[in-house]
Amino acid sequence: MTHLLELRGVHKSYARTEALRGVSLDVRPGEVVAVSGPSGSGKSTLLHCAAGVLAPEAGSVRFDGTRLDELDEAARTRLRRREIGLVLQFGQLVPELTAVQNAALPLLLDGTDRRTARTAALAWLERLGVPEVADQVPAELSGGEAQRVAVARALVTGPRLVCADEPTGALDTVAGEVVLTQLLAAVRDAGTALLVVTHDNRVAARADREVVLQDGRLASGQAAVTP
């Protein structure tokens, strides 16, 4: 099977700190891959390079054959908006917008008309079990609800890849379990690949495969998580 995402020899530094030191990683269409490792091992940097948010200094990032690292910022943003959903630890919802407006945002930014975008966003809120919060602003939501709105926002464009950075990291065990279950069910139903950075072993266990980063290098991984 061809790879949806291919990272080859990716290097990324911040000042004098080398966050990634030649990481190569493949993700197949529809595959769920967990990225684990100690704090500071480069997990979030890897995720942001994979999502096209950060450009590596060396190495390549291919999304469905397209070199993300060679696109200009505008082209990368366009591709990201349509094809790659992003879920961050604290949701990062726009505080002035309601839940449904937040979920519809990627479609609105991409030129979809307001009514169609709202309908699609409402369908995702329903699918993720939070239709009742549609007209509430983020300050009125629980952590678990806010994170499910963030998942709806990531999935609303029908992306082929979702990159999630500690999506359950700020939630208690039960709320985290709900978000995780909904996120996994949604990506598996839609055939969307998921690259998920996590400290949560329950997330890693539910993945198809786990890779472990240590000091900016892949310490192990590529092996399937099978009972």
Binding site: S36, P38, N201, R202, A205, Q214, A219, A223, T226
Partner: protein
Amino acid sequence: MSVSHVLLGILSEGAAHGYDLKRIHDERFPGARPLAFGQVYAALAKLEKDGLVEVAETLRDGGPERTTYAITPLGRDELDTWLATAERAGPYPADDLVRKTVTALRLGADAAGFLDRQRGVHLAAMKHQLHLQDSTADTAARIVIDHTVSHLDAELRWLESAAARVADAGKAPA
């Protein structure tokens, strides 16, 4: 002595004989070692001697004698006290994971490789438990699975920290 108390708990739902007690115990705690019949009957004999259970009925219908036991008021008091009492934490003796890792380190063998392979085994076991979790809506069953998953999670965290310590020791020998 928790097996006896679990048996008291089952008997508080209704009288039962030894075979039923074993079957119900094993169904409720699928992750625990199944009770041996000898263990059940020894516990029942001790509970009866202590006045916590009593013989409700003895059947002799051609086959082997079958005795049905019921909880006594004293047994109910003992059960209530047990249910309300917090258990002590630990001890946590070094298990095979710890012994194997320490032995590998002492011998200069591949402790990191073992820890990495063990993580895969633990993750797969957790995946199986989470699958069981998804397939039941029964609160008691989910609590039992939570307990197993939490232990696996604790051991996975230990495996991760042990791997980090082994990696650090490799960079700067003590």
